[in-house]
């Protein structure tokens, strides 16, 4: 590992200022960046340890939402009574990811910033446009079983590895940022990126910009009665998703007032299936309808040599997740 300077600021302004310098990276739980540094994928000149910043609180908001501090640990977030009762989908998604040890260390902000587990991204001897722009994509013709089938580009077919973010996207979370030019707030849909021509960028962040909190809106608590996070993977636990589905329904009598579906493991970012959501809106729930919605969600999918199975798997997973969701009760 290359030597680096290590700083431990205690206020956000100082941290942001330090991280604006070239070669600087934030360090929170470290569960991803330390690993990337061991592999040589990341080689920062400076690590800005943000664990002393006062960003670990989880607080109910006056307007009814819930603010998740960027430095609250994943395990504490998943066990927070207000998150569990109002936004159980987020707790389920967090608990589907990693291990107890990793969730104790990993933070909410860091979870959103974790990088793909594409093996070519991790292998510094291989071409990878995400790690070394312009060198090519080894996964296109390589071992691409765990890669994306939606929203890919000729430059990159990596998939987003996380779980929590699918739930946050489904529930229209909002990301609070602070950077060198001040604070801003963006919908999480505008936070993560598709690869396009710049797969090296995972998120729409300015240099030095820091996630300070993630807000769950009050309206999204209406999905608390019926939501489900389904994760399909090669083993029962402690594995990344082949496909995951965050599904949530808000019912009005026997009809669906609003549906939310966000897919994981199939795209460079959490993939909101808005066409499927539109099909479900106003309809009475049922398996044939869910299958039509699933077909719509994957209509634009393109598989590669080893991951074509994901397209049908994602469709069936959507149906299963929605069926489970309709069985949920108060």
């Amino acid at each position: 590992m290359k030597p680096f300077a290590f700083t431990r600021p205690t206020d956000v302004d100082t941290a942001v200022q330090a991280a604006t310098q070239p070669g600087a990276r934030f360090l929170a739980g470290g569960t991803n960046i330390v690993d990337l540094m061991k592999e040589g994928v990341e080689a920062p000149d400076q690590l800005v340890d943000i664990n002393r910043l006062p960003l670990a609180a989880i607080e109910a908001q006056p307007a009814g939402g819930l603010r998740l501090g960027a430095l609250a640990r994943n395990s504490d977030t998943a066990n927070h009574p207000l998150l569990r009762t109002r936004y159980p989908l987020v707790a389920q998604a967090i608990l589907a990811g990693a291990s107890g040890q990793l969730r104790n260390a990993a933070t909410n902000g860091g979870n959103l910033r974790q990088r793909t587990r594409c093996p070519y991204f991790y292998d510094v001897t291989q071409p990878c446009n995400k790690r070394a722009p312009g060198t090519g994509c080894s996964a296109l013709q390589g071992f691409n079983r765990n890669h994306a089938v939606l929203g890919t580009s000729a430059k990159c077919i990596a998939s987003y590895p996380g779980d929590m973010a699918q739930a946050l996207h489904a529930l229209d979370a909002v990301v609070q940022l602070q950077g060198p030019s001040g604070r801003r707030t963006i919908p999480i849909a505008q936070f993560h990126r598709l690869p396009g021509d710049t797969p090296e960028l995972d998120a729409n962040l300015a240099p030095g910009e820091l996630i300070t909190a993630i807000d769950l809106p009050a309206e999204s608590a209406r999905f608390a009665q019926r939501s489900h996070y389904l994760k399909v993977r090669d083993r029962a636990s402690y594995a990344f998703a082949l496909v995951s589905v965050a599904a949530a329904l808000d019912m009005e009598g026997s009809r669906i007032r609003q549906a939310r579906i966000c897919l994981g493991g199939v795209a460079h970012m959490p993939w909101r299936a808005r066409e499927a959501e539109a099909l479900l809106q106003g309809a009475e729930p049922g398996t044939p309808l869910f299958r039509r919605a699933a077909e719509a969600a994957l209509a634009g999918a393109t598989g590669f040599e080893h991951n074509r199975f994901k397209i049908e798997l994602a469709k069936r997973s959507i149906v299963r997740a929605l069926e489970t969701t309709t069985r949920s009760t108060a």
């Binding site: 590992m1 030597p3 680096f4 300077a5 290590f6 431990r8 360090l27 470290g30 569960t31 330390v34 690993d35 540094m37 061991k38 000149d45 400076q46 690590l47 340890d49 664990n51 395990s75 998943a78 066990n79 009574p81 569990r84 009762t85 159980p88 707790a91 389920q92 608990l95 589907a96 990693a98 291990s99 107890g100 040890q101 990793l102 104790n104 260390a105 608390a224 029962a236 636990s237 402690y238």
Partner: protein, 253 residues
């Protein structure tokens, strides 16, 4: 509630040889580590403690002195109840610090990438992978390793249960399994749900852990010998024997 951990233990109560994850060694008896060193055996422990890795961890000296960041920084830790003032290279993980600088090799280096759990230790009572933790990030923390669980010659209940139920074969993952299990039961006491919890909306204490719950909550610890049935039996036994604290009985919903 009675702490399962030994935070308050005095240093002079620690076993003389803290290299064995399971059994305190009676004075004068040859220890496993001493045996390996003397016989020149290069078992797993021998390979992992070999010079190249130690060098890669310790060599901070960069060629360009102008651009070089400080090669060591001060760090204060309490480890197994004892305070330590240390100087560490910023690149040092908590795992390497414990094993290479503090002579506490009970914590094992398996994958070194957070995928196996062999390096699990308790930091302020919470289990984490010490291989992915930079030591400097934990300045001021209370660390408990496998060496700190026993009270003198009295094994921690989880250690005793692992022996009773054959919760290991080669033993390499065992210290991580035991530290993880101790941290996991504390989490369950605090009402932490899991992926197999039927309804996360029901907050409050976790009822008796099912085998499915134990397996899921322990999934961050891989055992390549496949001693899982014994591990589950050991964790189940300790879990059943644990007094439910007043705090965990109270509903927080």
């Amino acid at each position: 509630m009675t702490s399962l951990l030994s935070d308050e233990r005095q240093a002079d109560e620690l076993p003389d040889d803290d290299s064995h994850p399971l059994l305190p060694s009676p004075a004068g008896q040859l220890t496993r580590r001493a045996f390996l060193a003397e016989s020149g055996t290069t078992g797993i422990a021998g390979i992992l403690a070999s010079a190249p890795m130690a060098a890669s961890v310790a060599s901070a000296a960069p060629a360009d002195a102008d651009a070089a960041p400080p090669s060591s920084m001060a760090l204060a830790l309490r480890v197994n109840g004892k305070p330590h003032a240390l100087q560490v290279d910023p690149r040092t993980t908590l795992l390497d610090l414990l094993r290479e600088q503090m002579a506490l090799p009970g914590t094992k280096k398996g994958c070194d990438h957070g995928q196996c759990g062999a390096c699990t230790v308790l930091v302020n009572g919470r289990r984490i992978n010490s291989c992915l933790a930079l030591a400097l990030s934990h300045d001021g923390a209370e660390i408990t390793t496998i060496e700190g669980l026993a009270r003198g010659n009295e094994l921690h209940p989880m250690q005793a249960a692992f022996i009773k139920h054959d919760g290991f074969q080669c033993g390499y993952c065992t210290s991580g399994q035991i530290c993880s299990a101790v941290g996991m039961l504390r989490e369950a006491e605090q009402g932490v749900p899991s992926h197999v919890t039927a309804d996360v909306r029901r907050t409050g204490p976790v009822a008796q852990l099912s085998d499915a719950e134990i397996r899921e909550r322990m999934s961050g610890n891989i055992c390549r010998c496949g001693a899982y049935p014994g591990i589950v039996a050991a964790v189940r036994e300790v879990s059943l024997a644990m007094p439910r604290s007043a705090n965990s009985r109270r509903s927080r919903a």
